[in-house]
């Protein structure tokens, strides 16, 4: 399978595929980080995660329309406004959902699966009613659609770099929030021992609500970013949910570092195999690889040591 390429081509292939893998890695991290916070830290199975992403995408679509209509001169920068709005709206909706639905189910994790599954169907129908069943196209400012040529074969898409930087910023912010801020300490305390955290004066209800909102908000940003590469329709969110859970479970549900490590190994494996095998076969092999490792390490790549 390597024989048909020359040595210099092979170098280029591995460089290009490595880069494609990095883009995929960023996408997976963006998808999974929000879920990892909700699933890993709170133990809530959020089946509506994909729909929160799509909400972010629709908000980006609306923002782009508003800018194109009323502020065409500022269109080049609308994407940043759209991302902030996407975060804000999904964050608030997430908090509302936690208040109206999730908080009654903390002791019944499997029921959160059903409740959020129902929520995802409701949201899908809502999108269909508001935006129609057809997919909508989000137009991007020209500067985001170009590419940067490194050599005559290797060209780096600008939106790929954009997603990578965005992922880096978000991953660092989440790291800082969870491990360096006072609020993060409260979250971790609540996760480890809820009654004790409550006893020392932490408002666990508020921590839960904000954490859930944060997870949803990150999904919203991810959805906004994906309008650069993917499609936006009422049911597009479902495409992401399986991959997202795969990344989180493979990484070890309670570890954010695990999520990143898992996204990295899955994306690089997938991207390298995609080049030499067919796309479907690469996906199958990646799944087998994940299943194999999970059989050896059921707790995922990184398990947090906590006392049960």
């Amino acid at each position: 399978m390597f024989a048909e390429y020359s040595a210099s081509e092979l170098t280029a292939i591995f460089a290009m595929q490595g880069f494609a893998g990095l883009i995929l890695f960023s996408v997976l991290v963006l998808m999974a980080l929000g879920l990892a916070i909700i699933f890993g830290q709170m133990g809530v199975i959020n089946m509506a995660h994909g729909e929160f992403m799509i909400l972010g995408a629709y908000i980006t679509y609306l923002t782009s329309n508003v800018f194109a209509e009323y502020l065409p001169s500022l269109f080049v920068g609308y994407f940043f406004v759209a991302m902030v709005l996407a975060f804000g709206v999904t964050f608030l909706l997430g908090m509302a959902v936690e208040w109206g639905l999730i908080r009654f189910l903390y002791k019944r994790p499997l029921d959160t699966l059903l409740a959020t599954w129902g929520l995802s169907l409701i949201l899908q129908q809502l999108y269909r009613t508001i935006f129609g069943a057809r997919e909508v196209g989000v137009s991007l400012p020209d500067w985001m659609m170009g590419s940067y040529a490194l050599t005559d074969i290797i060209e780096v898409p600008i939106n790929g770099i954009f997603v990578m930087i965005l992922t880096l910023v978000i991953a660092l912010s989440v790291y800082w929030l969870m491990y360096r801020s006072g609020w993060g300490r409260q979250v971790r305390a609540v996760v480890q021992n809820r009654p004790m955290a409550s006893a020392v004066g932490i408002n666990t209800e508020k921590v839960d609500r904000v954490t859930f909102g944060l997870g949803c908000g990150i999904a919203g940003i991810a959805g906004s970013a994906f309008t650069m590469v993917g499609s936006t329709g009422p049911t597009s969110g479902q495409l992401y949910i399986v991959d997202t859970f795969l990344v989180v479970v493979f990484g070890g549900a309670q570890s954010l570092l695990g999520t990143i490590a898992s996204a990295f190994s899955i994306s690089q494996a997938q991207s390298t195999m995609e080049f030499f095998l067919s796309g479907s076969m690469a996906k199958v092999l990646t799944l087998l690889f994940v299943v194999g490792i999970l059989m050896l390490r059921p707790q995922g790549l990184f398990a947090m040591k906590i006392r049960h």
Binding site: R128, S147, G230, S231, G233, T235, L239, S278, G279
Partner: protein
């Protein structure tokens, strides 16, 4: 057993006694000639005839099938405005297949057995068609199926109003080879039956012309990361990227193709697709697919009288922002072809309609002119469209003659 048969004789005796007065009262109620045009108990009265519309209006396929439903309703409304079929207004019963193939089968049975519809217009994916096929054959119904598809099928109970694979593929490749000097092809598709079969036919044809296929790739439905295959395409330097990616994946594919520096408005590599209609471009964005070629029988931009009035009627009925793609037009043909066959047969009976169908022609078709072949597919022209930034196709070529449908191409399977 004995008592059962006893009851049966009693019942049948009762029926026999009642039969004559029943028949007389029925006849006076609905006048004699309702029976003439309908001897098989279809839902036909003196003033109305019932048909079915069976598409997904929910689930993942709703995106694609909405246009078909709109087209079928428009055709039915127009036929009614002209006085209906054999003097009867068409009423429709709409069922939702919900993007779920068993549901399609169940709903088609409901339409045929409970509603006794005289024809059904519906289905989109091959999977849904395969699911309803045994039902239509068992209960002898008539299905008008609008989507271009892979071929390898022919049923007495189905009229295929879209193109089968050879009609769509061969002319497109021939045109590229002749006019653009294409020699190396890269085949790409979503991973299911239609793209795989279509690519098989394309590959055979390319090899027959003495040209080369330099790559063939499939990705799962809904796949959104095409960076790897785009890298491969860059390395293999094909003249033509022959893409049969379906649904939402198209959005990802074309956006990433453009972002990776492949300029489709230049001569190399060219992109030829048979799966992106004006509908999909709405999601992709015209600026992201500008320059690609598509091989289909219908584009909204076809210039003729029929299409002009079709497009304006469609927009008047369903909104100015709407676009019309190939399948939508093929769905629009269904009710008209059925009307013509019923009128030729002088009856709604399925067997008579079927017998009358081959040779039915439609000079009012938006695509120009079509005729039903003995194999229940349509003779139609194939056209090449050149995608523009405004989301419409410029038609750069059309076959001189109607292409004969050939669902079982020899040497191409």
């Amino acid at each position: 057993m004995k008592t059962q048969s006893g009851i049966k004789t009693k019942v049948s005796g009762l029926l026999k006694k009642l039969a004559l007065p029943l028949a007389i009262s029925l006849a006076t109620y609905s006048q004699a000639h309702a029976a003439d045009v309908n001897t098989t108990g279809l839902a036909v009265t003196e003033d109305t005839v019932k048909v079915g519309i069976l598409h997904s209006v929910t689930g993942t396929m709703a995106i694609s099938e909405t246009g078909s439903v709109q087209a079928e309703k428009l055709a039915i409304e127009q036929i009614n405005a002209m006085g209906g079929v054999l003097g009867r207004k068409i009423e429709y019963v709409q069922e939702d297949g919900a993007s779920d193939w068993p549901t399609f089968a169940e709903k088609s049975k409901k339409l045929l057995v409970n509603d006794k519809v005289a024809a059904v217009f519906g289905c989109w994916t091959s999977a849904s068609r395969k699911a309803v096929l045994p039902v239509f054959e068992q209960y002898n119904g008539m299905l008008y199926y609008p989507t271009f598809y892979e071929g390898l099928e022919q049923s007495p109970n189905v009229i295929y109003t879209g193109q089968e694979a050879t009609q769509q593929i061969l002319a497109g490749i021939d045109w590229l080879v002749k006019n653009k000097g294409a020699e190396k092809f890269f085949l790409l598709g979503s991973d299911y039956i239609w793209p795989r079969t279509s690519n098989k036919i394309a590959r055979k044809h390319i090899q027959k012309l003495g040209l080369k296929v330099v790559g063939e790739e499939y990705y799962p439905l809904g796949h959104t990361q095409f960076n790897s295959v785009i890298n491969k395409i860059k390395l293999k330097k094909p003249d033509v990227i022959y893409a049969i990616v379906v649904g939402g994946s198209n959005v990802a594919f074309y956006k990433q193709l453009k972002a990776a520096g492949i300029d489709m408005t230049k001569e190399k590599p060219l992109v030829l697709t048979i799966s992106v209609t004006e509908d999909e471009i709405l999601g992709i964005g015209g600026e992201n697919i500008e320059g690609a070629y598509a091989a289909m029988k219908y584009f909204q931009s076809i210039e003729n009288k029929n299409n002009e009035s079709f497009v304006s009627a469609f927009k008047k009925r369903w909104g100015d922002d709407i676009v019309i793609g190939d399948v939508t037009q093929a769905a629009y043909l269904g009710p008209w072809l059925w009307k013509a066959a019923v009128e030729k047969a002088g009856s709604f009976d399925i067997d008579k309609v079927r017998a009358a169908s081959p040779g039915i022609e439609l000079t009012t078709a938006p695509e120009g002119y079509v005729r039903i072949h003995e194999n229940h597919h349509l003779w139609s022209k194939t056209r090449i469209g050149h995608a523009q930034a405004d989301g419409q196709y410029d038609i750069v070529y059309e076959t001189d003659e109607l292409m004969e449908p050939n669902p079982f191409p020899k040497g191409y399977q």
